[in-house]
């Protein structure tokens, strides 16, 4: 295939073009049309699915791409599958596959890319597409003891608005157990647990008495079918959903959603809006990390630092409310910029609160490093090796504690992060303590970024008109506090959502939880859970 002139915008896209050339050289006959690209995303159309496993392996293992996820779209007469990969520092490769609707069997890529495991299970459960050679399908999003087989809610002919009356409750349903030794048993935990305030999810702790051999999470108790009910809504209404399905990282998710909408409309937000978005996103990260640190202290029953971190978090919630009128930063992002502007006095008030939180966190970290009994509980607990993290494509602070350097703010810049100086803290041990150190270090970086941005705010508009008058689809991405968030949006020419897909960091990372939770003592379970700091509702959507 002839070399194409650079179809993608951006400074660092050379890598992406080189990679495309390498793919064409090896798999050229399988690519049905010339690559098209725009704004850091390059689409390769494949002619048939058989090449997928080899091609995904080529991208993931030979070229070190990260796995973004799989997005399925149902059009009038065909499926459109998107296998998304990220080339660090360059941009996204979107392997596009168009298939007739009758095709309901696809080759599984799980043997090559383990991180695709849950994506394929979800698609099988919600679309009814079968993946050949996948080790375990079924009972994922739709829990088998209450849902019939054969219900495919994400299909277009399935109406989301009608309550599903034909539920069953199968009292004989049994979960899959792996440990079969004599004397072993499974201890169920959840879905309502954690001594009071915990998200709904279920664990099956398989144990032989003192030690837990395996802990498998069962998720999707909070599944609200956000992707399904977004279909048919206007972009403005779907934005409310993207903001409210995982409120502890509401700003990052609504930002990724807005970036996707802005890509479709080919709108660039004004520099002031981009800078303020960075400020707000970092404020959310700082607050989230303070909360995560409080949860880790609490899991080790160290009451004073847990309380002090909780005070820092609550003070940041209050500062957010004073600054932006909402404790969780709802109602700020809008396609085209921000809903309102902030004055310099407001920024200064915020900076005082941020400084206070940052210095309090630093003091807290110093004292925690001197608390030997606390460190004993974290060190060598819940270890995820670098190989495992790479294998399972772990993102966010968890990945970075296991030597995975991916941070979308640097790996594929958005909203002006590329021009800002900041570090991405990394650790290599992959244990609970490494994850705690990453949280502290990232909080410091966030505070620095907030200062930097607030100090150099350009004057100007914070919003431009973003009319969605043409049909289109685009990918938006943001580094949420828990890791990479990808939002895929397709709208028709009236601005109504046809397909919305949110790939969240918690969905990604829950897949890797079982690696950290292997062969441990019962009392370490809350600690492993807290150092992972994952959200069930962000995973479930």
């Amino acid at each position: 295939m002839a070399a194409h002139s650079s179809p993608i915008a951006g400074d660092n896209t050379a890598g992406l073009i080189d990679l495309t050339a390498a793919v064409e050289e090896r798999f050229g006959s399988e690519i049905s049309r010339a690559p098209v690209g725009g704004g850091f995303v390059l689409t390769l159309a494949l002619s048939q699915p058989d090449v997928l496993p080899a091609l995904c392996k080529f991208l993931f293992w030979e070229h070190g791409c990260l796995f973004g996820g799989i997005t399925t779209e149902e059009h009038a007469a065909r499926w459109q599958m998107h296998y998304t990969f990220l080339l660090l520092g360059s941009g996204w490769i979107d392997l596009e596959l168009s298939l007739p609707l009758e095709t309901i069997v696809l080759p599984s890529i799980v043997a090559e890319v383990h991180a695709a495991d849950w994506h394929e299970r979800e698609i099988e459960d919600l679309f009814g597409i079968h993946f050949e050679n996948h080790p375990r399908l079924g009972d994922f999003v739709l829990h088998d003891q209450i849902w019939h087989e054969g219900i495919d809610p994400m299909r277009k002919n399935f109406s989301a608005s009608h309550p599903q009356l034909e539920r069953k409750v199968d009292l004989d349903w049994q979960p899959l157990l792996v440990v079969g030794d004599p004397g072993s048993f499974a201890m169920p935990v959840g879905p309502i647990y954690e001594g009071g305030v915990g998200e709904s999810l279920h664990f099956l702790l398989e144990t032989v008495g003192e030690d837990v051999i395996r802990a498998a999470p069962r998720l999707f108790y909070n599944y609200r079918a956000v992707e399904k009910i977004a279909e048919g809504r206007t972009v403005g209404d779907a934005l409310l959903l993207s903001e409210r399905f995982a409120a502890t990282s509401a700003f990052a998710h609504s930002l990724a959603f807005c970036l996707a909408a802005e890509r479709i409309a080919a709108v660039d937000v004004p520099p002031r809006a981009a800078a303020l978005r960075v400020l707000l996103a970092e404020l959310e990260r700082l607050r989230h990390h303070a909360g995560a640190i409080a949860a880790i202290c609490e899991s080790t029953a160290l009451a004073v630092p847990a309380s002090q971190a909780a005070i820092i978090e609550e003070n940041l919630l209050r500062a957010s409310c004073v600054f932006a009128d909402h404790r969780y930063l709802f109602g700020l992002n809008t396609p085209g910029g921000l809903n309102r502007d902030f004055g310099s006095e407001q920024c200064n008030t915020l900076l005082v609160a941020v400084d206070e939180a940052e210095s309090d966190l630093r003091i807290l970290e110093k004292r925690l490093r001197l608390s030997s009994s606390f460190l004993d509980r974290l060190e060598d607990v819940g270890v995820v090796t670098g190989e495992n993290a790479r294998d399972l494509n772990l993102v966010g602070p968890i990945g970075r504690a296991s030597a995975q350097h991916c941070d979308l703010r640097k790996a594929c810049s958005y909203s002006g992060y590329g021009q800002l100086p900041f570090d991405v803290p990394c650790e290599t041990e992959g244990d609970g303590y490494a994850r705690l150190r990453v949280l502290f270090a990232e909080a410091t970086q966030s505070a620095k970024l907030i200062h930097r941005v607030a100090g150099r705010l350009e004057e100007g508009l914070v919003r431009v008109s973003c009319e969605l008058h043409r049909a289109g689809a685009a990918l938006g991405w943001a580094e949420a506090p828990r890791g990479a968030a990808l939002h895929w949006l397709r709208v028709d020419k009236t601005g109504v959502v046809e397909r919305y897909r949110a790939i969240t960091p918690s969905f990604n990372n829950w897949l890797g939880f079982h690696v950290a939770a292997e062969n441990f003592a019962f009392q370490d379970f809350p600690i492993i859970l807290a150092t992972f700091g994952l959200s069930a509702t962000e995973c479930d959507r």
Binding site: P153, I229, T248, A303, S320, D325, R327, T537
Partner: protein, 251 residues
Amino acid sequence: MSFWFWHGLRKGIQSTRYPGRAENTPGISPGRPMNTDFSSAEEARLAAEICPSDAIVAHGKSTYVDHGKCVNCQLCLHSLPSPMNWEPGFEWTRLPANRTESFPLPSAFAKSTHIMVVDAGDCGACLHEVKQLNNPLYNMHRLGFFLTATPRTADLLLVVGPVSENMRGPLLKTWEAMPTSRKVMAVGSCAISGGVFGRSFMCACGVGSVLPVDFEVPGDPPPPLAILHGLLVVAGRKSLKSLEPVSEGRS
């Protein structure tokens, strides 16, 4: 390790004085829109139109807000030429629409109320605000509110989230396992009306369609003190007359 003891003491008492004294530290509550009289019917119509969750109804020049539907998107505050009036505060606990009265717990429970929290499809915000009640700034223990992990010892079922289909069963089982006289409190707009999720094959449009709800705390999410006010109402230590000003020394 003993240094933690001193560091804890040195911080001093951080807890709010509410409900003994009024609390108005900035940032404790995002506030909410209130019924507004505009100067023209057109302005009222615009306010009703901009509301994505149909919480605002225009009637002539006036608008009325159903706070159980309000998702706090703040469009009616920041995106209108003439915005809705905004009320600060947090004492928002109310009765469900289908009730004319609810009784608090028997007085024996007033100073020691055990709460069972169930996340029935919550986005994390309401749950997080409930969690904040345990931090030193709110410290609900000082008022005799305790979280419990088992429904057998719970007096109050606090539900957040619109009731997802996969949580309907666990929620009902929890309620059935509670001893009478139990109370149910729906916290947050999703738990009251389904919020942005609405009615669908996966969402039950609020707790009221699954369980008898005694009290509601509107807000998306309601701030911690709004939930605390709800708890005080359930315990019979605050009255529901939300129109009266925050009274001092009544608890």
